[in-house]
Assembly symmetry: C2
Homo-oligomer: 235 residues x 2
């Protein structure tokens, strides 16, 4: 394209101004989870903008998981600040996977990195493993691939929770949720899940014994069994 | 709360139906980056909903980084599908950090995990290091903490890019962007950046030599120098 010497003027849209003001109240005035924002009409009056601009800003904040949706609360209730980074991350990953701009291989490699780290942390801190044992029992009782994947997801998210890092746990949960369909297919293709069961027991026992290195290796070999065609192997 | 035996009816909001239909077109009909969605008015007519519901759905998709904002294109242009997961992730992390539901320690531990992994991958694949060298030169020429952090961010994002995993690179970029203010304070507190410089040279040379283990150790020690009070140390 010919350079005319002109540059486009950056036009800020009204809802973006609303967003910026809400974000400033959060970071500078210390608004936090549980605090209520003014009702839509009141906020629109105070900011001198249309109610639809306020509504658009609220949709953005809901999408990012920082205000709760107020379905059925009526327009005067005012949105409540919340913090659900994992649901926001899940929507984000699912859509970018849908657009095929991220490959399943990249998601599984990311999961591999996180899960090795989390298993080692959980082992080192001798974390509580009761959620892992419960998920294992759930997998044993599962009658369909969907049910199996539900409890399998709980097992692996419990490892991330046990690491004690909430950001890493949120990323893990969103990775698993966004690849749910793919996991169900992988379990169906595998048919027999006894190898996966043995892997899960090995991971659980290594974390219980506080054996970080063994937990890391068990996670790697488990992913190689679960995704034989995709798994990149230890870097 | 007393259990009355009644459960709230799940009410779907109109813009959520619009979103679901757009997502179905993406995943089932293979709409992808560069494809154009119908204009706001046209989409509202085809779906039998108000234009404001369509606009709310578009704000959600913009927020998630899957449609580009059409500022100045006029309402008939129609949004274009895009894929910018890192800008979406940055907004998400910045707001959750602002709400103080994530601690800087959790962000830095996540960065440590990613950066060790990425440096090892980059070394193992003998990745191109020219972007790292350019960022190093930028840091040497920096006159303020802000300028230093800008090039420092470029250096560390270049390591993640060199790993070849776009999801991990997007997470890294968003972590760095969301903690920018904190990084500037850390550099100011440190005053002398010569230790950081030596660390960067060591990371760069280890990647160039293909020494994955040395690159991993160099990343760890660098973060301990940069954030002495916060850094958790190797797990």
């Amino acid at each position: 394209m010919e350079d005319t010497g002109w540059r486009p003027v950056k036009r800020t849209r009204t809802f973006e101004d609303v967003l910026a003001q809400i974000e400033r109240r959060i970071t500078e005035d210390g608004l936090t989870v549980g605090d209520r924002l003014p009702a839509e009409r009141q906020l629109a009056e105070q900011l001198g903008v249309s109610r639809s601009s306020v509504r658009e800003a609220m949709r953005v904040l809901e999408t990012l998981g920082v205000v709760s949706s107020q379905v059925g609360r009526g327009p005067d209730a005012g949105a409540v600040l919340t913090s659900r980074p994992d649901s926001a991350l899940t929507d984000l990953l699912r859509l970018h996977l849908g657009l095929a701009t991220l490959e399943m291989r990249e998601v599984i490699d990311t999961r591999h990195m996180i899960e090795q780290w989390a298993a080692a942390q959980a082992a080192a801190s001798r974390a509580d493993t009761s959620a892992l044992a419960a998920a294992l029992a759930g997998m044993d009782a599962a009658r369909t691939a969907e049910e199996f994947v539900e409890h399998d997801t709980a097992f692996h998210c419990a490892i991330a929770d046990a690491s004690g890092n909430r950001l890493i746990a949120a990323i893990m949960r969103s990775l698993r949720d966004s690849m749910r369909r793919y996991s169900v297919e992988a379990v169906r293709r595998l048919g027999d899940t006894s190898v996966l069961r043995a892997d899960h027991v090995r991971i659980l026992e290594a974390i219980e014994r506080g054996a970080a290195g063994e937990a890391t290796r068990a996670v790697s070999e488990h992913l190689a069994h679960a995704y034989p065609s995709l798994f990149a192997g230890p870097g």
